[in-house]
């Protein structure tokens, strides 16, 4: 099945998929200063390309369940838009592919592949073919989504861990 410019999930659907117990999502998008961008890049080994990051607080009964982050990474031709759920302690809750504009490599949507990210922390390797499966035909997307999640975990440490 080809995947030409497919919008798989809306933001709201992805939020419900990653935090089904959440009662509300509060926009908590941030502007990163240069020092924060450098720190994120250094911690993750992945360049933080932009200074604005779309983030929502997932809450239930006024308590923080986690962070819902929308991110983009480079695909073969265009950006891949995905969402990551991060726990307050810095674990990956899960990831969802929102928009995949590439003409091949739709396997990054596979639940089994995305499950490899669950419970990952910034201390994990995110090594393709090791703790993250390498999908032949979607190697660049695999690599860049894995690097993107690693970068978001660094962002969680640098910025979100300090937010109540």
């Amino acid at each position: 099945m080809p995947a030409w410019c497919a919008d798989y999930l809306t933001r709201e659907q992805a939020q419900q998929a990653l935090f089904p117990q959440a009662e509300r999502f509060i926009d908590a998008s941030i502007e990163l200063n240069p020092a924060q961008q450098d720190r994120i890049s250094k911690l993750s080994g992945v360049k933080q390309r932009w200074n604005r990051q779309q983030i929502w607080r997932a809450e239930r009964a006024g308590g923080l369940l986690g962070w819902f982050v929308i991110d983009e990474v480079v695909g073969k031709h265009e950006f891949v838009t995905y969402a990551a759920g991060l726990s307050p302690e810095g674990h990956v809750v899960g990831i969802e592919i929102l928009t995949y504009r590439e003409t091949y490599g739709f396997q990054v949507r596979d639940a089994q592949w995305r499950a490899a990210f669950r419970d990952k922390t910034a201390r994990d390797r995110f090594k393709l073919g090791d703790d993250i499966p390498l999908l032949t035909g979607a190697t660049l997307s695999c690599r860049n989504v894995a690097n993107g999640v690693k970068r978001l975990l660094a962002l969680q440490q640098v910025v979100l861990a300090r937010v109540e």
């Binding site: 080809p2 990474v73 031709h77 091949y104 035909g137 690097n147």
Partner: protein, 300 residues
Amino acid sequence: MTRTTLFSALLLILLALGLTPISQADEQVFGYVKGAEPLPKGANEFYAIATQRSGKGSGHYRATDYAFEFERGFTDRLAAAVYLRGMSLDTSGILIDAYLPGDRKLGLRFSGLELETKYNFLSPASHSFGLSLYNSLSHLTVDPHSGHDKSTLSLEMLLLAQKYFMDGQLIWAGNFGIEATRAKRSEIANLPPGFEWPTEPEMEVEVIGSTGLSYRFAPNWYIGGEALYEQENETEVGLERWSLQAGPVLHYGAQKWWATFIWLPQLRGGGETYPEQGDFDLHLVEKTKTEYRLKFGINF
């Protein structure tokens, strides 16, 4: 059915296939340099490649090589392909002893078959750089320089390296290897007086090195440059030729197809020469001043 008719019929079938709405799996951002990424298991690929070679420094020379390839990924590491080759030629006013015996005009003509395999050792996405081994076995029935009958059997082995930079927005690739060839020309009637046209079997060993960089400057668009070095040693004359070519390459990847265009002029060259070639800093006996290549690919 003549070979030309058969070839034309096959070409029409392949072009018709190219018009069907099928999806794209992989693509080549370079014109001559080969990438190390393997074709995925179960994926099929069709290419059409046209290469125009022109300019010998005197007279008129324009040859166009055509290649139609079908490739399939058999495992996640191994892909194999079969090529159908053709050529056309229009040359006049040039006489190169032992190479070009006179004016010749050929329409599109079947010129040979090629089988190739590509085995991937390291993926450029999961390792610091990618590495593959490329093998090719080809049999040509037409001399690509003169257009006369010539039986050529070649075995080529290349190491293909590739590295991604900037999350894959910048791609480097490099190839290095050798090609061993056994060739035998057919006799030609009515050769010019005193013209040498050897028909004994000859052996050639060619060293090939190439490198390229390609940058994605806008969604779907890549621009870059490539350089190609070739050196050929032959049983009769020793160092027959060497050449360095370099030029820009432009690539576009659409939803259902991709295309790559490269202009690759010869910058320097040496080895055998002929008196009328004018520029003796180039090798113009077998090579030409300029090459253009257009590649079109569909994956399904």
